[in-house]
């Protein structure tokens, strides 16, 4: 006969949160920020093919930190949700808030009911237009959803990166400036991140339906100068 010990729910939640936080802290962080023409997403990512940032829809981008297989599945679900919604209704009906809420529900459900919480944090960014605002929704491992005002930081060391970026940027600036600030916030003092170890993408109006674009190493270098 097995013994049953009572564990208070506070303790269960605390253990689960600690477990998820530890998993997330193992990976590197992401900064997403609004600049004067759009949204820039910057990830420290030494891999040139296993992306952390991805296109979801015409004006939506995804970013994820933590366990790759877990956030990649969320990324795929996001693309499927967006494409199906746009096909069923209209392209303009695909909106970030609805998807962010689905992510929050899924992460929240898994956190409390799953075998283990997902060790990820994800972000849904939306480039605004006449009908929808520019938005950054950050969703934590436990389903906490945050509507971030000017920038969002995801990942293990988020607090100190957030503080550094906040100090560097008090206003909405150009892409170059915002990118430089994001990179130095990610790096911290006394550390430099090589352009090859960065993954950068933007959502910006350029006269075509799809606003997502990855910046090449050469592009990023020209903005860093």
């Amino acid at each position: 006969m097995s013994n049953f010990y009572y564990v208070p729910p506070e303790q269960i939640m605390k253990d689960r949160a600690e477990f998820a936080q530890k998993g997330i802290a193992r990976g590197r962080s992401i900064v997403a920020a609004i600049y004067d023409q759009g949204v820039v997403l910057v990830a420290e990512n030494p891999s040139a093919s296993l992306y952390k940032i991805s296109e979801l829809y015409d004006r939506l981008a995804f970013a994820g930190v933590g366990k790759y297989n877990e956030f990649d599945r969320l990324r795929e679900a996001g693309i499927r949700w967006a494409d199906m919604t746009g096909f069923t209704y209209s392209r303009e009906d695909v909106e970030a808030r609805a998807l962010a809420n689905y992510y929050a529900q899924h992460l929240g459900d898994t956190f409390s009911n799953g075998y283990k919480p997902l060790e990820v944090e994800v972000l849904v960014a939306q480039l605004g237009n006449e009908t929808h605002p520019t938005k950054l929704y950050r969703i934590g491992y436990d389903g906490t959803i945050a509507d971030e005002e000017r920038f969002a930081v995801l990942g293990g060391d988020a607090e100190s990166i957030r503080a550094r970026f906040h100090q560097l940027s008090t206003d909405i600036a150009t892409l170059s400036l915002t990118l430089q600030r994001a990179i130095s916030a990610l790096a911290g003092t006394g550390r430099n991140i090589a352009t090859g170890d960065l993954e950068v993408a933007i959502l910006e109006e350029r006269g075509v339906r799809r606003t997502f674009r990855r910046l090449s190493e050469a592009d990023v270098d020209s903005h860093r100068q």
Binding site: I79, W81, D83
Partner: protein, 264 residues
């Protein structure tokens, strides 16, 4: 719909159609009605810069149901897709093809090859036409990024996909358009020569086939003209199409409705 999550063992992968099926969505099925599967003419020609496509704009029922129908659409930045047959099914066909190519690209962070896109359409035609009885015949033309050349693919009603090294036509005006192209085609056509020949083929089809519309000078509506080159899919402005067809019209008027002994 909620968040579409799948286990790795039953994940539908980067195909939108497979996902739609897994999600329980049924694409539209046919209706019992009389359909003319070929009320249209679209031509595509290869030329030195890539491919040109020209299509008439008439939708035909028992009467002229539409005069400004777009029968060519950009399936993506480098691919044009044209349809002949049932308008409703054709529109859905184009929408699904566009969405499928984009869905694949986003899911796998990589675009499909032009040949991949061409092959993708085969089962779509098969499903459509076998279950519903010849409703849509498409044509696919584009710039092949890996081969650095324009390529054209045509299909038969059973879904067979055939690459054409010269030109292709679909729709009810095919006999007239094809004859024109056969007489005028050379393998070293420049882009402007190809556009002119393609326009002439559509003019001939419009002149002889009741289900194909010619240039409409009264409403300022002209066949749609498209180029697909290294720079991508470009729809030429109405002014250009208007001028091209006005030139043909003036020549024909001068020679009393005949081509006048030359291909023009």
């Amino acid at each position: 719909m909620g968040l579409p999550l799948f286990d790795a063992s039953n994940d539908p992968g980067p195909s939108f159609l497979a996902f739609a099926q897994a999600a329980g969505m049924r694409l539209s099925s046919g209706h019992e009605r009389e359909l003319s599967a070929h009320a249209t003419t679209v031509v595509a020609l290869r030329c030195d810069t890539g491919v040109v496509m020209v299509a008439d704009r008439q939708a035909t029922s028992y009467y002229v149901a539409g005069r400004d129908v777009r029968k060519i659409e950009a399936a993506d930045a480098y691919t044009g897709i044209a349809i002949s047959g049932s308008a409703a099914m054709g529109m859905e066909f184009i929408r699904i093809a566009q969405l499928s190519f984009e869905h694949y690209e986003k899911m796998s962070e990589m675009s499909l090859s032009l040949e991949g896109k061409a092959n993708f359409l085969s089962p779509m035609i098969q499903n459509n036409n076998f279950s519903l009885g010849l409703m849509v015949i498409p044509m696919l033309a584009g710039w092949d990024q890996s081969r650095q050349q324009g390529r054209i693919f045509e299909y038969d009603g059973a879904g067979g996909c055939y690459e054409r090294s010269d030109f292709a036509t679909i729709g009810s005006g095919t006999p007239f358009a094809e004859s024109t192209l056969r007489l005028g085609f050379r393998s070293d056509l420049t882009q402007s020569e190809a556009l002119e020949l393609a326009a002439l083929a559509i003019y001939e089809a419009g002149d002889n086939d009741p289900s194909t519309g010619g240039p409409d000078f009264v409403r300022n509506l002209f066949p749609m003209m498209v180029t697909i080159t290294e720079a991508g899919f470009v729809e030429l402005p109405t002014d250009f199409a208007g001028a091209t067809f006005r030139t043909i019209l003036e020549r024909r008027t001068a020679s009393g409705g005949m081509a006048g002994g030359t291909l023009r």
